[in-house]
């Protein structure tokens, strides 16, 4: 087997080969480390590569396999974490000067769960500063780049996670999503990105951006790999106040069931009438709807409240909550924040108590409106990003970018939402859509995603850079 084939193995495929002895975890790990060394200088997706830890994890996993010990599907499988996840003894910087020397004493809950299964930690990934401000060149580390074209942004804030997965440096990487920070990079980088239901995955040990909007979830190359990751990280945590105590289903069970007979709502007005939307994005979602119909689903246009209401509601809450977290640093060392972080987060100082209460009132109404639609429909499909990934040169470094992306609504409502590729633009950049489900019905979102992925075969196309055919 060649190195190229190794990186193309999904978690499920690698797991089977690890268990039948066809490959070792050490081989997978050395392959990943070699790829990071060769490709990542063009992408800057990793802030810290934990090679020593990865080799120790791999050796431990191989020893367990040889003894017949199997701790779960992540045993022996390399993964990586956005650098806002606490990792005991490994610096966790939030991509910020303010936390350059931060070495946590304890692991985040998510890291604890991957570690308990015997996963192999490859390292910590680039992010927008504090999961908000970027892409920026005034931070201690450079911004990650898009593997499909390194002159383009990978999206954010889980920028390194999207770039590393798309480049085949890692099969699955954890991101966080407060207004679209998992689904945005997934959309721009052509990966799967799953924001689970609010309360399904513990955020403990993950540096907060906005406590009532923050979600943790995976980015991966395939839907099945996101399902595997979710299975590991989902579950009640009594020490996360938002965590919900309810049974965790088997997310792999429904993946092969197809979409025959499902009812899917399409709020086409959300994106098709939005200012600046790319016709390629709209056409790709229309084609996706046709594909789902050919697979046996019923797809019907529906109407949701105005997108701008969701956006305003989410942003007001996010700014207020984020500023509250960083208030002291803004008063004592404001210029240590990157410019874009400063310009966005400072807005929280201008939100009044009445503004915030209005936002929470509106949030309840909007959530109810979405959930009422989901009484009739099994899921919704809508746009993730409204245009393919912009170029770095398109972004004003002195003004926060106004992301043409429609992910915030489902942070506001808390519903599970997954970004999945729908095709490619004429310029060769990925296009995408979101699949949105009922609260805690990730199984349905994954089921529809798996059926669509299988029907389109889009995951077969990788960036040239991932094949070693291009570099910056």
């Amino acid at each position: 087997m060649t190195d190229t084939k190794l990186f193309e193995l999904s978690i499920a495929e690698a797991g089977r080969k690890l268990r039948d002895g066809a490959i070792t975890s050490m081989a997978l790990t050395e392959d990943a480390l070699a790829r990071i060394g060769a490709i990542d200088p063009a992408l800057d997706s990793f802030i810290t590569v934990t090679a020593e830890r990865a080799r120790a994890d791999a050796a431990a996993a191989d020893a367990n396999f040889s003894k017949g010990i199997d701790n779960g599907p992540m045993q022996g499988v390399p993964y990586a974490l956005k650098d806002i996840y606490d990792t005991a003894g490994i610096r966790s910087t939030c991509h910020s000067k303010l936390r350059l020397d931060n070495v946590p004493a304890a692991d985040s809950v998510v890291e604890t769960r991957f570690k308990a299964q015997g996963g192999v930690l490859l390292g910590k990934l680039a992010t927008h500063e504090f999961a908000l401000g970027g892409p920026s060149f005034d931070l201690p580390f450079p911004p990650a780049r898009n593997p499909w074209n390194p002159e383009h942004i990978p999206g954010g804030s889980s920028s390194g996670s999207g770039a590393a997965v798309a480049a085949g440096l890692v099969r699955m990487a954890m991101g966080s999503d407060t207004g679209g920070s998992i689904r945005g990079p997934a959309a721009y980088c052509g990966t799967v990105g799953l924001k689970p239901t609010y309360g399904l995955v513990s955020r403990r040990g993950v540096f907060p951006l906005s406590t009532t909007l923050d979600h943790c979830g995976p980015l991966s190359w395939t839907v099945e790999d996101s399902a595997i990751a979710l299975q590991v990280i989902a579950g009640y945590d009594p020490l996360d106040p938002a965590s919900v105590d309810r049974p965790v289903p088997n997310y792999l069970d429904g993946l092969g069931q197809g979409v025959e007979g499902l009812r899917i709502g399409l709020p086409r007005h959300f994106f098709a009438e939005a200012q600046g939307v790319s016709p390629e994005v709209v056409a790709a979602i229309d084609r996706a709807a046709e594909t789902l119909e050919k697979l046996g689903a019923v797809v019907e246009e529906i109407t949701l409240p105005d997108y701008e209401l969701f956006n305003a509601c989410g942003r007001v809450i996010m700014y207020a909550e984020a500023f509250a977290i960083h208030e002291q640093d803004y008063q004592t060392r404001p210029l240590d924040f990157g410019l874009l972080t400063y310009l966005r987060m400072t807005l929280g100082a201008f939100v009044t108590a009445a503004d915030l209460q209005q936002a929470m009132r509106l949030r309840r109404e909007l959530t109810r409106a979405v959930n009422l639609k989901l009484k009739t429909y099994d899921a919704l499909i809508t746009a993730s990003a409204l245009i393919p990934a912009p170029a770095f040169s398109d972004i004003d470094p002195n003004s926060p970018p106004n992301w043409p992306i429609q992910t915030m609504p489902f942070n506001v409502t808390g519903n599970p939402a997954m970004s999945i590729p729908t095709g490619f633009s004429a310029s060769g950049l990925p296009l995408s859509m979101q699949i949105v489900g009922r609260a805690f019905d990730e199984s349905m979102v994954l089921r529809i995603g798996a059926a669509f992925e299988s029907a389109t075969g889009l995951s077969a196309r990788r960036p040239a850079l991932a094949q070693g055919k291009a570099s910056r």
């Binding site: 309360g199 209401l309 008063q331 410019l339 201008f350 503004d355 309840r364 959530t367 808390g414």
Partner: protein, 70 residues
């Protein structure tokens, strides 16, 4: 939806908010931040929609309470 004040009124508001928050805003960052503030004011005005039955006093965000009974 409430009406948007003019720039002069917004400038006063901006300065009061910044002072109350203990912020010393560098002059070179002020124009971009003020532009962001204006956009924020547009958003908070947009949120002031007619009230509905969902505005009961105990209404606070919990995904379980929002989805209960649906």
């Amino acid at each position: 939806m409430t009406e948007m004040p003019d720039d002069a009124a917004l400038t006063v508001e901006f300065d009061v908010f910044a002072k109350r928050a203990g912020l010393d805003i560098p002059a070179d960052r002020r124009p971009a931040l003020f532009a962001g503030f204006k956009d924020l004011r547009r958003m908070v005005a947009l949120m002031r929609q007619p009230r509905t039955a969902a505005d009961e006093p105990a209404g606070t965000f919990s995904i379980l309470s929002v989805t209960r009974g649906l």
